[in-house]
């Protein structure tokens, strides 16, 4: 019973939040709504007995990614309204048709996959986090290490790209200060 109520409440909240993200013309509202939607999605993970992913969703998405967006938006002019226009009706029609096909195919997917058998069935009495740890460090060890290297590369590239010429700007300001002091 509680599961049904929680599912419908969380789905209504998530759809509403993501609707704001897509439709709002203010970048700050869109970002706040996106952060809220991420937290509500972690609620689905807790309903589905995936506690580890729920915590990871809150920590990584709402913590790291949204903080990164917030820092990135300091570089942009966010008070101005975002301009947008629907270019043609063709886009709207193709979009609605493709989403309809998408929903139908997603609904038909379980009918096709009736004969699916589970590779890693969860064991009674073993927690979700423990099971994920066992499977992650045996079967998925190589992808895990590759993901670690990928995150390292992404971090270095982010630092290099965002901080390019940032020291020069600071140096120029220092020189200007020195000029002002010497002028006095």
């Amino acid at each position: 019973m509680y599961e049904i109520i929680a599912f419908y409440v969380f789905s209504a909240l998530t759809i509403g939040m993501f609707g704001i993200v897509v439709m709002s013309s203010n970048a700050l509202y869109a970002m706040s709504a996106l952060a809220g939607g991420m937290i509500f999605i972690s609620g689905f993970f807790f309903i589905l007995d995936a506690e580890f992913l729920g915590v990871v969703q809150i920590v990584v998405y709402s913590g790291a990614i949204m903080a990164l967006y917030a820092f990135g938006m300091m570089f942009f002019d966010t008070t101005r309204d975002v301009s947008e226009k629907m270019r043609s009706k063709k886009i709207a029609y193709s979009l609605s048709i493709s989403s309809a096909i998408l929903v139908v195919s997603i609904l038909c997917a379980p009918l096709v996959g009736e004969s699916v058998e589970s590779l890693y069935p969860s064991i009674e009495g073993v927690g979700n986090v423990q099971m994920i740890g066992v499977v992650l460090f045996t079967k998925y060890l190589v992808p895990f290490e590759l993901a670690a290297i990928m995150l390292l590369v992404a971090m270095i590239s982010g630092i290099v790209l965002a901080s390019k010429k940032m020291d020069e700007y600071l140096a120029i300001e220092d020189e200007e200060i020195e000029d002002v002091k010497e002028g006095k």
Binding site: E3, I41, L102, I106
Partner: protein, 100 residues
């Protein structure tokens, strides 16, 4: 009782919202937000399938998708800041420099 179909319908709805955002927005930052919505919708689908077929692979795929999304944001925002410093705009139309 909530079945797998409920979760798949929700996944479809959220993915469609993300697709609308990708088609509708011309601001690059807003396009990044829409791609985050797409990734999150698929994550819900993976975890739901993982629960109802009693298989942990879905949750692990969702975990790797989160890792990919984090690195995508780091690189994408770096490029976006660089582009904004150079052009003073993050609009998609400012990228059309090869227009004849």
């Amino acid at each position: 009782m909530i079945t797998l179909t409920h979760y798949l319908v929700l996944t479809g709805i959220l993915f469609s919202i993300g697709l609308v955002g990708v088609m509708r927005r011309t601001n690059l930052l807003m396009l990044f937000f829409s791609t985050e919505i797409l990734l999150n919708a698929i994550n819900i689908g993976f975890v739901a399938v993982s629960k109802y077929y009693n298989d942990l692979s879905g949750q692990l795929f969702a975990f790797f998708i989160i890792a990919v999304a984090a690195s995508e944001v780091a690189v994408g925002l770096g490029l976006l800041i660089l582009w904004y410093k150079r052009n003073g705009s993050v609009d998609l139309n400012s990228l059309q420099t090869m227009k004849g």
